[in-house]
């Protein structure tokens, strides 16, 4: 590290983290209408989680830090088809919850461009429950 960057590091203001509750989770909503197999669902949820983690790492660093430190709490729920994603995304947007919709590349099992998983969070569990609390567990 050069002298200038060292000086910058000790004098620069600390980045302000977004305010966070201690209970932070990630919710993955799976589109059941596609009849995906177990491995396919696992891969899509994995994809959604990585994307949500990277996206929220930039927009909600405080939430991501708490989420990682507390063991990456996540939950998988399901909706019967793709049309339910729109209402969930609108609710998330209204409450400031980061949302990431995954569209499949269509290499296997399902048509290209199908929406497979909607990841909501990592965000305050209480707020997420107000959006996805009624959905059934996968």
């Amino acid at each position: 590290m050069g002298l200038r960057s060292f000086l910058h590091r000790i004098t620069a203001p600390k980045p302000v983290l977004d305010p966070v509750s201690t209970d932070v989770k990630l919710v993955c909503v799976v589109n059941q209408g596609l009849k995906m197999g177990k491995g396919k669902i696992a891969a899509q949820v994995g994809h959604a989680s990585v994307e949500a983690f990277l996206q929220a790492g930039a927009s909600h660093p405080g939430h991501v830090e708490v989420w990682l430190a507390a063991g990456q709490k996540k939950i998988c729920v399901k909706v019967p088809d793709e049309t339910h994603f729109r209402a969930l995304m609108e609710a998330a947007s209204a409450k400031g919850v980061p949302a990431r919709l995954i569209n499949d590349a269509g290499h296997t099992q399902i048509p290209k461009g199908s929406s497979t998983v909607l990841a909501l969070g990592p965000f305050d569990a209480e707020v997420l429950d107000s959006i996805t609390g009624d959905l059934k567990l996968l």
Binding site: L26, K38, G39, G46, V50, K74, L138
Partner: protein
Amino acid sequence: MALIVRLDLGLSIGKTAAQCAHAAVDVVQRARRSRLLERWRAGGARKIVLGVENETALHELAARVPEGCYASVVRDAGHTEVPAGTVTVLGMLGPRRSMDALLGHLETL
């Protein structure tokens, strides 16, 4: 990226998905700022989910992870389905050739 799931635990679909997601996030964190991660994401972040018969077989694979790959073994927190500390998934990111050599005999889930 390969996500290798223990088959002997009989995990549900939701549990399997959550554990695979955990492994994927861990591996991405380990590979942060590497060229390998950039290349993988640019290529569509391909993943494959494979099965392995039990914990011993999973650890054998984990011990033989080739140089230049990033790997992570997930232990469940035990909130549901399995006792705390149970090893569930091995996640691995690496060049295709070295991954195929190690994992080619496993079946997809």
